[in-house]
């Protein structure tokens, strides 16, 4: 079983996976009643007609959470290989990994100090 064959399996799986939910939806599409009217197909908000756009103003806090998440997620690019090879490293391996994590934790504490983690 070589590497590419494994991924062929995953690829086929990924192609087939959406079919499973699509099948019942397709069956439902055949059987379901279809009686749309203007009121039924309008946006379901609070009974009153929708005013204005969906583009309400969002708070910057969402972006800041996304940002911190992005940084920690990207960090995994290096941390996962580091963890995989960890058992075969010397003490220096630990020191390097520690420095790496420490620098990033710094940024987290900066955000904490600046009250950027607060959901106001």
């Amino acid at each position: 079983m070589n590497v590419l064959n494994e991924w062929a399996f995953i690829g086929l799986f990924a192609l087939l996976a959406p079919v499973f939910p699509a099948l019942p939806i397709a069956v439902a599409w055949i059987f379901r009643p279809r009686k749309p009217n203007v009121l039924k197909s309008s946006t379901y908000e609070c009974g009153v007609e929708t005013i204005g756009d969906t583009w309400v103003q969002f708070r910057v806090q969402y972006y800041i959470y996304g940002l911190i998440f992005l940084v920690f997620d990207v960090e995994m690019v290096f941390l996962f290989p580091w963890a995989v090879a960890y058992n075969d490293m010397s003490l220096f391996g630990f020191v390097a990994g520690f420095l790496f994590i420490f620098l990033l934790t710094d940024a987290l504490f900066y955000a904490w100090n600046k009250k950027a983690l607060e959901w106001v």
Partner: protein, 408 residues
């Protein structure tokens, strides 16, 4: 997977085209493996409803079939016969694609789950990372669903869900780093095999707890389900969905919870390891299923008993507590492990290590984790007390103020 290879050989022998035979055997393998989650989800829906009912002192589904076992099929018929409304303002393509992606991303996770040491879809070298990467499609589908509905509440709900999902992914991944580090591999088969001496949950209970809590949040279950809050809000990002498409979001959530249970059994509880697991693959499969189910049942228990948290509490709990704790745990475990290895007290490779070989490592790691847990519990208790006292004072002041106002 040997089934596939064997089948392939058989087909080639009987004179079939080798490329076609390979493709057919792959296809059969895919259908076999993907059958497991699809069958499971049908049972899960019944289990979840029954248990929720029992906890709430109800009987639950009991009409269709024995013990209501056929309830799921009745539900499916109902969902099929429901009218499926697509709002006129919605973005049609994305609106319809989103439930498909949501369910497919969870089913796809099962491609890498090993059922026994030798029966699995594929044993990827990067399976752990694959899990996190594929789960991110689920996050994206939530976002797309919320936006494509073109509804203010759906969009707001989707944003809150996504903010929560991405926040809790950070401690989840850091906790995932610990089994990967201890086993020295990202393959789930290797990780389970490396626990022959000692389960990783004993080596680092803290990592398991963090993983457990954040996967509870990742699946949007109570106490982290404010974003959906079925009984109070009108539902979150899936407000505009109806009929089978809504059912798909629901089924995906149920399946995801169980998948997480199986994953935790593999990462922390030795997977299929148990008495006599090497005798027969069925026994190995039984152990994995048992462990996964127990973890799954505890999540149901929590879901039905713990009250919801406010969104600011959820976020503060994650960023100010779980994330620093999980990072600290990684640093602590890696430091102790390296010291033990340098002192020759710990094996460099846990695969096949016996219990006595693992003992010093286990004791040191377990005690250090335990110390941290006790310390944190004390800290939390103190903090909780402070909050309780201050809230009581506020209430008393309020009562006094309103009482004097009434007296006037």
């Amino acid at each position: 997977m040997e089934i596939c290879t064997g089948l392939c050989a058989l087909m080639v022998e009987s004179g079939a085209n080798s490329g076609l035979a390979q493709f057919m055997s792959l296809l059969i393998g895919v259908l076999l493996v993907s059958g497991v989650p699809l069958v499971t989800v049908i049972i899960l829906i019944w289990v979840e409803r029954k248990i929720a009912a029992r906890i709430q002192d109800r009987i639950g589904p009991n009409r269709v079939g024995p013990w209501g076992l056929m309830q799921t099929f009745a539900d499916m018929v109902k969902l099929i016969l429901k009218e499926d409304i697509t709002p006129t303002a919605a973005d049609r393509v994305l609106y319809n694609a989103s439930p498909l992606v949501s369910f497919a991303s969870v089913v796809l996770l099962w491609a890498v789950i090993p059922f026994t040491p030798f029966h699995f879809g594929v044993d990827l070298e990067i399976a752990a990372l694959f899990f996190v990467a594929v789960a991110s499609f689920g996050t994206l589908s939530v976002m797309v669903a919320g936006w494509a509905s073109n509804n203010k509440y759906a969009l707001l709900g989707a944003f809150r869900v996504v903010a929560l999902l991405v926040s809790y992914e950070v401690p989840l991944v850091f906790a995932l780093l610990i089994p990967v580090m201890l086993a020295g591999s990202m393959s789930l088969v290797d990780i389970a095999n490396a626990q022959s001496g000692m389960w990783f949950v004993v080596l680092s209970p803290l990592a398991f707890l963090i993983f457990y809590i954040s996967s509870q949040a990742e699946t949007g279950r109570a106490p982290f389900d404010l974003i959906e809050a079925e009984s109070e809000l009108v539902a979150g990002f899936n407000i505009e969905y109806s009929g089978m498409k809504f059912g798909m979001f629901f089924a995906a959530e149920f399946l995801h919870v169980f998948t997480n249970g199986i994953l935790m059994a593999l990462l922390f509880f030795g997977g299929w390891k148990g008495p006599f697991y090497y005798e027969s693959p069925l026994i190995a499969f039984f152990w994995l299923g048992l462990k996964g189910s127990i973890i799954y049942l505890t999540t149901l228990w929590i879901r039905n008993t713990v009250p919801r948290l406010r969104i600011d509490q959820i976020m503060a709990f994650n960023w100010k507590f779980l994330v620093p704790l999980s990072i600290g745990n990684v640093v602590l475990i890696s430091a102790l492990l390296k010291v033990m290895q340098e002192l020759q007290l710990s094996p460099r490779n846990f695969v096949g290590a016996s219990v006595p070989e693992m003992l010093p490592t286990t004791i040191v790691l377990f005690l250090s984790n335990l110390a941290i847990i006790i310390y944190i519990m004390g800290m939390l208790r103190k903090r909780g007390e402070e909050m309780r006292v201050s809230s009581q004072q506020t209430r008393r002041a309020f009562v006094q103020a309103s009482g004097s106002a009434a007296g006037d």
